[in-house]
């Protein structure tokens, strides 16, 4: 009996103690699950780009355009991120699109081009992004697809060229009037006008410009004997490069050609006659294909002069200068004495031939004057860069100095620049 009592007492006490210990101790912690990384939206805002475009009445024309091409839903997608150079209604009107009604009347490809070219997909670029200050600008793809990269599944996108300087922020040559409007899935930079996608290559644009018939003929003369992309003609038509071309107008070429021909003829006794002949010969672009002048206007000379009108740089790891930059008027320096290398530097080092000198003068966010100087003078003999500057002429279609193309930008200038 005593034993049984002991057993019961002891067992119950010890069991109680044991149970207390176990209960008092915390449970084993279960193995934690993998913790997902929480990605915040591009910005702290809870409003998507699509929402703000949908709701802000000052964007109603853009909204109409985006809706028409089905882009609004994409801009509302919180898993995506965009940078939009967005023209508000005022910007549309400044570009000649007065209302949503006009959007409805435009060809849908044009509307799509306007909307998609305004959007940089997949990244948010703020005005504070230091890469925007690089010369001349930052080439970035837009949502406008123009093909597929050969041999890949990667789409070929039309590119846009934002840039930032101390005096402004631009998409191509269109100023940003209100930068860095941040929303949940990206940023809006309001632009002063529609940033229209270029429609044709420089070749198409240049060759169809009635003031550049000599330039076209000069290209043909310079390309004599050349082939492939060594031909300037081919280069101007090559869609996936970047070029900046300073295209002297017909008057500029006529002036130069007159001088060249006159100089070659005035060795004779009658200078008036020589002037008449030079005047007649330089009056048409056919002067470049006139066999009688082959010795005066050689392909090498023409090519040398034209090469001086193609801005070029040498890329890291590359061995020669190539026409690989797209410079808008607003990308040039505002201070004098800044040189820009050209295709001439493919054969002459910058130490000997520093390139062309350029200087931009701004009125507000736009460049009102853009001047270039070459090393040579006409007539020859002047000190380097001492000749009169060539002025970029206004593009009558836009009222600006630039002529943007698919593969570059050109300026019509009123003088031929001479490398020496």
């Amino acid at each position: 009996m005593k034993i049984n009592n002991f057993n019961k007492r002891a067992v119950s006490k010890i069991s109680l103690l044991l149970a207390t210990v176990i209960v008092a101790a915390s449970c084993n912690k279960p193995l934690p699950d993998a913790m997902p990384i929480i990605y915040a939206g591009a910005n702290a805002s809870t409003v998507s780009l699509g929402s703000v475009i949908n709701s802000d009445t000052t964007y109603s024309i853009y909204k109409a355009a985006a809706t028409r091409v089905g882009a609004l839903a994409m801009l509302s997608d919180s898993t995506k991120v965009f940078t939009i150079f967005l023209p508000n209604n005022a910007a549309f009107r400044a570009s000649g699109i007065a209302s949503e009604v006009v959007i409805g009347l435009l060809p849908i490809t044009s509307v799509g081009g306007i909307v998609q070219y305004s959007i940089i997909p997949g990244e948010q670029f703020l005005s504070t992004d230091t890469t925007l200050t690089r010369f001349p600008n930052l080439q970035l793809p837009t949502a406008l697809t123009i093909g597929v990269l050969p041999g890949t599944t990667v789409p070929l996108k039309m590119t846009i060229f934002p840039s930032k300087r101390s005096n402004g922020f631009w998409a191509n040559n269109i100023p940003v009037v209100a930068p860095d409007l941040k929303f949940q899935n990206g940023v809006i930079h309001l632009v002063g006008a529609v940033v229209a996608p270029p429609a044709q290559t420089l070749k198409g644009d240049l060759y169809s410009n009635p003031n550049l018939t000599f330039f076209k003929a000069a290209i043909a003369r310079a390309d004599s004997g050349a082939s492939g992309l060594n031909k300037l003609d081919s280069l101007l038509g090559y869609g996936v490069t970047n070029m900046t071309v300073l295209a002297p107008n017909d008057a500029a070429f006529q002036t130069l050609l007159f001088g060249l021909i006159y100089t070659s003829l005035k060795q004779g006794p009658d200078s008036n006659y020589a002037a008449q002949i030079a005047q007649a010969l330089s009056a048409t672009p056919a002067v470049f294909s006139n066999p009688a002048l082959y010795s005066v206007i050689t392909p090498a000379m023409v090519k040398g002069i034209l090469a001086y009108h193609f801005l070029a740089t040498i890329a890291r790891g590359d061995t020669s200068f190539k026409p690989n930059i797209r410079v808008f008027s607003n990308n040039f320096a505002t201070t004098p004495g800044v040189f820009y290398t050209t295709l001439v530097n493919s054969s002459v080092p910058p130490l000997l031939q520093p390139g062309v000198m350029a200087q931009a003068t701004f009125t507000g966010p736009f460049v009102s004057s853009l001047q270039f100087k070459g090393a040579g003078t006409f007539p020859p003999g002047g000190a380097p860069y001492s000749g009169a500057a060539a002025n970029a002429l206004v593009n009558p279609a836009t009222g600006l100095l630039d002529h943007p193309g698919v593969n570059g930008n050109y300026f019509v200038i009123d003088k031929v620049l001479l490398p020496q």
């Binding site: 010890i14 044991l18 915390s26 193995l31 990667v154």
Partner: protein, 923 residues
């Protein structure tokens, strides 16, 4: 010295040749019965007083003895757990019945391992823990090997159901290099691994007579490797433990396991021992365990750098470079920015600014497979053993024994390895005498179809779709990524879209396509671009020991011994740098121990010393000095100083293996430095400075043996009328030349620039085309200190009730920054047991409740490093005996609260296992 050898030789000869020649005139027969329960008591020692003659009772309690002494005589009848009894025998014709009275065994056990000679556990000069066959019968643990993890100061790291590794005094891991496991006198290590594969090969449960654990340094007696302890497991003598025994254990596990369905557990055990005559006995044992293994299911994201790293936030859907701890194949990582996108931007320069605007480095991992989708969960362990024992004389036996085990299990080393059809055989022949032994044995290892799960899965991905090339996975991924970005996707959305594209047609886990590729890859040796590791490394050992006390006891008791050990590394280039042939490693050593009792046995002084030499290391001399002070009867204080050392393991000497993240694990012998041109193409420490772009040259010093000087004090004694056993200890150890691994990096092209850009240095470290990260064994230049203490109380209540409690602590200090110590030991652990070996009518009922808690651990492993929270387990069993049928029924469970825990980072989560067992003739 020559004289000593002469004495030894003469002694051995005398023993062998002194064959007894007594006529078998009088055979004494009898029976031994438990006075409380009236049960027959097997394996009781029956010896003739004043003589060496003796026998044991068989499984029915009967004995038969031919005395070497004329009648009348006195028989001494003794067994652990019973009061010794002397019986007068005057006539052989009378059948003798001996009633033995049970008594408390607290503190009465005899241990051998502490001094290599028998002594009472209370008088051990060093801390020792013992598990007896009786403990095993009453344990709630599902396996006797798991009981080790419940001992004071012991940690267990469980890689899988059949692969647990005990450790003492720190440095836990799946495979403990600092603990010697000796089974029936044989070093039980898998020689290719240098540690024991748990209990895959060894003694089956019914054959275990005792387990002795020596925590702390033990090299002075057991040779190199015993830095932190020695585990000695002894089997049952077939002369003593006879008859047929079996046990069937059936259980259920994986209940409420988030990664596996509930599954059965089976454990069959059989032992048959027969004493054929007074001279010859044999035994055979077998054990088969079959179950579905625990699952390693840590799917958290791992930030890997060489063999270091840590958990970070991320899932497969939110981290393109996700590398799940137990997800394999996703260790392959490539920086798509430098590998593909930059090249693409080069070809399409109008995209260059856009590509440049993407992050400087875009590491992307391949899609992996969870462990439970690639490893076969069926785990099996089959063990067979047998022994033939022939007594050349009454005291000298010639034993031949073999132990063979095979199984499937999972091991966590530098990666997770599926040990598939692993086979290890140990074979020995020995001459054993109470005063001496000569033993030769070999361990034959065959890794079977074992493979590196991580490497195999990575290669499976490569076999399905190569990572590189313009049709490769990363090229497809990169294009799809850019495509998605150009569609406006955020980075992570673009990554997920890209992964969906690159993974199109990926073999689903478990599909026939998956199996075909996986099986093909895992069958190809690592050296030939597969995942199979071949390991046919063998170990050969001869050793001998002589106790000279019979000649020297007047002055001092002397024990001498020596051994020669030879490893033959053979992995066919899959594990070691042995593609051109086997690599032999020779080790030899000798030891001597002197014991002197003073002050009327109140003081026992023991001095031991051992010398060892390994081919690749300088010879080492290690001493041990210990003292046992008897402060009162059954109360002793022990003090010891011992030095222990270990040579680098076979792997630390010769491994040559690429692991998960591409890191090359290499050995420490100097030929590696030459082979990998460390002298001409410098290596840099992988440390914060390197990640900051400031590489620091790393000079690889000579690889030396590791040493520990350990000071220990303790007390063990019986109090309260011998009902309370107290054991406490404290130790302080100083490690010198602590062996660790450290990561170094080398540029493939000898270009330091690849380490000088902080934005890309990490991606470059993980890009095998740019750099190689080596994990090299090295010695810590400063001292590494460990210290700790332990305390246990065991109180023996009436009627076989016992309650015990214990606590212990181990602390590491002094590890230099950037060295991986892998201490992996909780600062505190505690436990309690409440048990009864027989209560109720005829003491038929019994039970055992064992509770254990351990503190959290910052676990460092070559496979993965991370935090293991504190956890507790409660094991319990209730049993019922059917004495007439000699049957023991047991219902029990381990971790019965079914609170899943892990004790090694990256290892399986262990839940409750509930079982019912029927045992027959258990003793």
């Amino acid at each position: 010295m020559r004289r000593i050898f002469k004495c030894v030789a003469l002694g051995i000869m005398a023993n062998i040749l002194s064959v007894t020649a007594f006529a078998q005139s009088n055979t004494i027969k009898g029976n031994v019965i438990d006075s409380n329960t009236s049960e027959a008591v097997p394996a009781v020692s029956v010896t003739v007083k004043g003589s060496g003659a003796g026998t044991y009772t068989d499984d029915k309690g009967n004995f038969s003895l031919n005395p070497d002494h004329p009648l009348p005589l006195t028989l001494i009848v003794s067994s652990i757990g019973y009061t010794l009894k002397e019986v007068q025998v005057s006539s052989a014709s009378n059948f003798i019945t001996v009633l033995l009275s049970p008594t408390s065994i607290l503190g009465q056990e005899v241990v051998v391992s502490a001094t290599r000679t028998p002594s009472r556990i209370l008088e051990s000069p060093v801390t020792i823990e013992r598990i007896s066959a009786a403990n095993i019968r009453n344990t709630a643990s599902v396996s006797y090997y798991d009981m080790i993890g419940k001992l004071k100061g012991v940690d267990m790291v469980t890689a899988s159901l059949n692969f647990s590794s005990p450790s003492t005094r720190g440095f836990n891991g799946s495979g403990n290099l600092r603990l010697n496991q000796i089974v029936d006198g044989m070093d039980n290590q898998a020689p290719g691994l240098n540690f024991s594969v748990g209990n895959v090969v060894g003694i089956s449960e019914l054959d275990v007579e005792s387990i002795e654990l020596l925590p702390g340094a033990s090299s002075a007696l057991y040779g190199p490797g015993g830095m932190n302890g020695a585990l000695i497991i002894n089997s049952k003598d077939p002369f003593k433990y006879q008859g047929l025994s079996f046990q069937v254990k059936t259980g259920i596990m994986n209940i409420d396991n988030r990664s596996s369905k509930a599954s059965p557990y089976y454990n069959w055990n059989v032992r048959w021992a027969q004493k054929v005559s007074d001279k010859f006995a044999f035994k055979f044992t077998g054990e088969l365990i079959q179950a579905k293994d625990w699952v390693a299911d840590d799917y958290r994201d791992y930030d890997r750098l060489g063999t270091t790293g840590g958990i970070k936030a991320g899932t497969r859907e939110t981290d393109p470079n996700y590398d799940g701890v137990n997800v394999y194949g996703d260790e392959t990582t490539v920086d798509i920015k430098s590998a593909v996108l930059n090249q693409l931007a080069q070809a399409a320069p109008f995209y260059k600014p856009y590509v440049d605007a993407l992050p400087a480095s875009i590491p992307v991992s391949r899609t992996g497979y969870q462990e439970n989708r690639i490893l076969n969960p069926n785990t099996v362990n089959a063990k067979l053993s047998g022994e033939l024992s022939y007594k050349l004389t009454s005291k000298t036996a010639l034993n031949a024994a073999g132990y063979w085990g095979t199984g499937n299990t999972v091991y966590t080393g530098s990666d997770r390895y599926s040990l598939l059809n692993l086979k290890i055989g140990q074979y020995k022949i020995e001459l054993v005498n109470p005063h001496w032994f000569i033993r030769g044995y070999t361990t034959q290892e065959n890794a079977g179809e074992s493979y590196n799960a991580t490497v195999t899965t990575r290669l499976l991905n490569e076999a399905w779709k190569p990572s590189g090339g313009t049709s490769g996975w990363y090229y497809q991924y990169s294009l799809a990524f850019l495509n998605a970005k150009l569609g406006g996707a955020s980075d992570i959305s673009a990554h997920n879209a890209a992964r969906a594209v690159a993974d199109q047609g990926r073999p689903a886990a478990g599909s026939q396509q998956f199996k075909d590729i996986f099986d093909k890859v895992r069958s190809i040796p690592i050296s030939q671009g597969g995942g199979l590791f071949v390991d046919k490394t063998n170990l050969y050992n001869v050793e001998g020991q002589y106790d000279l006390s019979q000649f020297t006891s007047n002055v001092v008791d002397i024990l001498v011994g020596a051994n020669y050990k030879r490893y033959e590394l053979n992995s066919e280039g899959t594990l070691f740098a042995d593609s051109t042939g086997k690599i032999p490693i020779n080790e030899y050593g000798a030891y001597v121990q002197a014991t002197k009792r003073l002050a009327n046995d109140r003081l026992k002084l023991i001095a031991s010393a051992r010398y060892d030499k390994n081919d690749n290391f300088d010879g080492r001399f290690t001493p041990r000095f210990s003292a046992v002070i008897k402060v009162a009867e059954d109360n002793n204080i022990r003090l010891s100083y011992q030095q222990a050392y270990r040579f680098g393991s076979t792997q630390q000497q010769y491994i040559n293996l690429r692991v998960a993240g591409g890191t090359a694990l290499i050995g420490g012998v100097k030929s590696f430095a030459e082979f990998y041109h460390f002298n001409t193409n410098p290596i840099y420490a992988v440390n914060p400075a390197l990640l900051a772009g400031n590489p620091q040259l790393f000079s690889l010093p000579k690889f030396k043996a590791e040493t520990v000087n350990s000071f220990e004090g303790g007390y063990k004694g019986l109090l309260l009328e011998k009902r309370l056993l107290i054991d406490l200890y404290g130790y302080y150890g100083v490690y010198k030349d602590f062996i660790t691994r450290t990561n170094v990096a080398q540029s493939v092209n000898g270009n330091i620039n690849v380490f000088q850009d902080p934005n890309t240095v990490k991606a470059n470290l993980n890009n095998p085309l740019i750099s190689t990260t080596y994990s090299v064994p090295t010695n810590v230049s400063g001292d590494v200190t460990t210290y700790g203490y332990g305390l246990s109380f065991t109180y023996s209540l009436p009627h076989n009730f016992t309650i015990s409690a214990q606590g212990s602590s181990d602390i590491l200090s002094g590890v230099p920054d950037n060295f991986i110590a892998s201490f992996n030991t909780p600062k505190y652990r505690a436990g309690a047991t409440f048990s009864n070996t027989g209560f109720g009518p005829q003491n038929k009922m019994g039970f055992d409740f064992t509770y254990r808690w351990q503190d959290d651990v910052n676990y460092q492993g070559d496979f993965a490093t991370g935090f293991i929270p504190a956890f507790q387990t409660l094991d319990a069993q209730v049993s019922y005996k059917l004495p007439a049928q000699k049957v023991l029924l047991k219902l029990g469970g381990t971790n019965i609260l079914n609170q899943y825990y892990r004790n090694g980072f990256g290892n399986a989560s262990i839940g409750g296992l509930y079982y019912f067992s029927i045992g027959y003739n258990l003793f």
